[in-house]
Symmetry: C2
Subunit: 132 residues, 2 copies
């Protein structure tokens, strides 16, 4: 099938599909006219990539997951290890963002937000507070 149909079935834009091919994640056959020709298996792989990416796995991790996906003799332990590594990264990112959110929230809360120029947010950012 043509790239447009593969796009509709996998949920990925055609641009992205071509990009994945460039990055050697997928290699569809070509017709005589030069058009890419996607098999059902190709579409499954694209949909797999789509889901893995939407879970935030980096492309290189997606590449590893995809090769495990295609390896009938894989050990689920290998997959779990990749997923666990990613999970830990997500957790630390969430923690980092929460910290950041709390800091910003405290500044916003302290700001009266009126026509006067005095502003705890800017004071906080300028480092003129005692605790920084």
């Amino acid at each position: 099938m043509n790239i447009g149909d593969a796009a509709r079935k996998s949920g990925l834009p055609t641009k992205t599909i071509r990009y994945y091919e460039d990055r050697k994640l997928i290699a569809p056959t070509r017709r005589e006219n030069g058009y890419r020709d996607y098999s059902i298996q190709d579409v499954h792989k694209l949909a797999f990539l789509h889901r893995a990416r939407s879970l935030g796995f980096p492309l290189e991790t997606c590449r590893q997951l995809l090769s495990l996906y295609e390896d009938q003799g894989r050990a689920s332990a290998d997959v779990k290890q990749l997923a666990n590594g990613h999970l830990r990264e997500i957790d630390s990112k969430i923690a980092e963002m929460k910290d950041l959110r709390d800091t910003l929230h405290a500044l916003v809360k302290a700001c009266h937000g009126d026509q006067r120029p005095d502003c705890p947010i800017l004071n906080g950012l300028s480092g003129t507070e005692r605790d920084e």
Copy 2:
């Protein structure tokens, strides 16, 4: 002072400082030998940018914050509005990441992680589960 000293005092790498100059966020004077010359005010601005960036404000928002920072007649309401917009974005990003984390966590938990090839994580990613 030289860029190296400005870097040490502001906490930003010299590369980043030059980048900010390229993006017109700061404009130090130049000495006769071509070296950049940073004033105390410049260093304050760099430290301000450093803090604003570490709170996750995009550079363009930093630019606006910086101009408010320098505007003695600003209204704190304007600052608060910028900060609030950013806060909302952080909140939605955190919520998004939590969702993602929970989905991934569920997959990881369901995976026995041994030498067998059967793997709920890959099943989840391939979309062969009934609820996807």
